[in-house]
């Protein structure tokens, strides 16, 4: 599962349009499984959720899913089952006979996700997938996407939401000014212990003693912010505890992906 992160106008959606054969690249070639993107999609399709829900608003929820199930080459006998399955998965049963113009932004987004899940595809592309979803459905979306993981499936997610990408993806490509600036291995970066990073620690007792263990530490109430690698952090905490400090939480001040993003798109 690969994420694409980048500031506004970085080229994330353009990259996706090229991957789907909707736009030609200025230079170079794009291949999906060795094929030109359009040829690949015309043969087997992709599960695609665009950033904007651009479906004719006079269609009904069921009508839209019936049409798109038909275009997805789902056998007639299986279309109804596929439609009901995705309606159930994204929880839009109560809206099934509504026209799309009557749906809220979040429900439209859930419909977009539903149509992408109609058929089993080897390539899955989600562009800003949680745009407009409430926190409950954002969490549900993560469960659904986690359930799509399969050895023979490539999943690409473009998002502004670094936390979401960090939770879902194995690698995240940071795009800026139309180029991939950096590819972050999320699991590796999260586990890297030798790299100094900013930490945020809370101490119920002995906040000053804790701050004294680190250079450049700042204290704000019961919170200490400092920079250290994992070993240095542990040494400092151990020393502070030995001096009577009572520490209630230790967290990175920012995620490894946020840090990588900040440095990659620094202007």
């Amino acid at each position: 599962m690969v994420g694409i992160a980048g500031p506004n106008g970085a080229g994330k959606s353009t990259l996706i349009s090229m991957l789907l054969g909707f736009l030609p690249p200025d230079r170079g070639t794009v291949r999906l499984d060795g094929l030109d993107p359009r040829t690949f999609i015309e043969r087997e399709g992709v599960a695609y959720l665009p950033e904007l829900m651009t479906i004719p608003l006079q269609w009904t929820v069921e009508g839209a899913l019936d049409r798109l199930a038909t275009l997805s080459a789902i056998a007639p006998a299986e279309r109804l089952g596929a439609r009901e399955r995705v309606i159930d998965t994204v929880g839009i049963g109560e809206h099934r006979s509504k026209r799309l113009k009557a749906l809220s932004k979040g429900n439209l987004q859930r419909l977009g996700l539903a149509q992408a899940l109609l058929a089993e595809r080897r390539v899955v592309v989600f562009d800003e997938p949680t745009h407009g979803l409430d926190p409950l459905w954002t969490a549900r979306f993560r469960e659904i996407v986690a359930g799509l993981r399969r050895a023979d499936r490539a999943i690409l997610i473009a998002s502004h939401n670094l936390d979401e990408l960090e939770r879902l993806c194995d690698r995240v490509a940071i795009v800026d000014k139309g180029r991939i600036q950096r590819v972050v291995d999320v699991r590796e970066a999260a586990g890297a212990s030798g790299v100094p990073r900013r930490w945020r620690l809370r101490a119920l007792v002995g906040c000053d003693a804790l701050a004294a263990q680190f250079t450049d530490a700042t204290v704000n109430g019961d919170t200490v912010e400092c920079e250290a690698d994992v070993a240095g952090l542990n040494r400092g905490i151990a020393m502070a505890i030995a001096q009577g400090a009572l520490i209630s939480s230790v967290n990175p001040a920012e995620s490894s992906l946020e840090e990588a993003f900040r440095t990659a798109v620094a202007r």
């Binding site: 349009s17 399709g45 004719p56 049409r67 038909t70 275009l71 080459a73």
Partner: protein, 249 residues
Amino acid sequence: MIAGRPLVGYLRWHAQDTVLRALTPPILFLGLGGVPLWSFARTAGLDAMDRPGEAHDLALQIYGNTMPLTMTLGAVLLANGLHATDREKQYFRFLFSKPVVAWAFYLQQFVVALLLFAAAMTLVPLGFGAIVTAVPVLAVTKSAVLFALLYGSLVALCGSLVTKEGVVFIAVAATSMVLQQLGKAGFLPHWLALVAGALPPFLTADSLRGLWLAGQPVAAGDIMHVVGYSTAMLAAALLLVRRLPLARS
């Protein structure tokens, strides 16, 4: 390869999407010709309109003026916005992330629209014949197919190039008709007459319709000219759908 099957299943949706456009001519005919015919029938009587005489001639005159007008307007509206709207409103993102060949999708849509238009147009002489007086039916059906093919393929070609294809269509159609009229009357220099001859054959199609409706023989070469020209425009439109990027305004 599964690209052929989804389109067959989508025929009903294409029919549903184009049926209202196809029904425009009979509705227009009812609006434009129905009111004068109805008021005339109230004074002269329907029976008089079905017998040789002044009332009959007047009813046929109303039909003869209104039917070609509605056919022409209907043919223009038929293909207007089909591909360009999908592109402009980005519907293509949903349609063509599925295993569907875009040009085949639009070809099927065009054929369905053309057949529905011809069927809807045929309702006009059938209805007129049933209520007022008998008129040729097959001539209208043939003319409707020819007009839908010529006008529809030009609109499709414009729509594959630009978003505001209606404006381009009107410009091309008006230029063609004016130049072809002037050329026919011998008012154009040789080179401009050649240009006029190379433009879409609106006058030829008009002449064919007139001859068919009058029950007179037509030249096969003229039919070939209109059908061939239209088919070439449609093929060019579909080629552009295939070659040009979908993600453009």
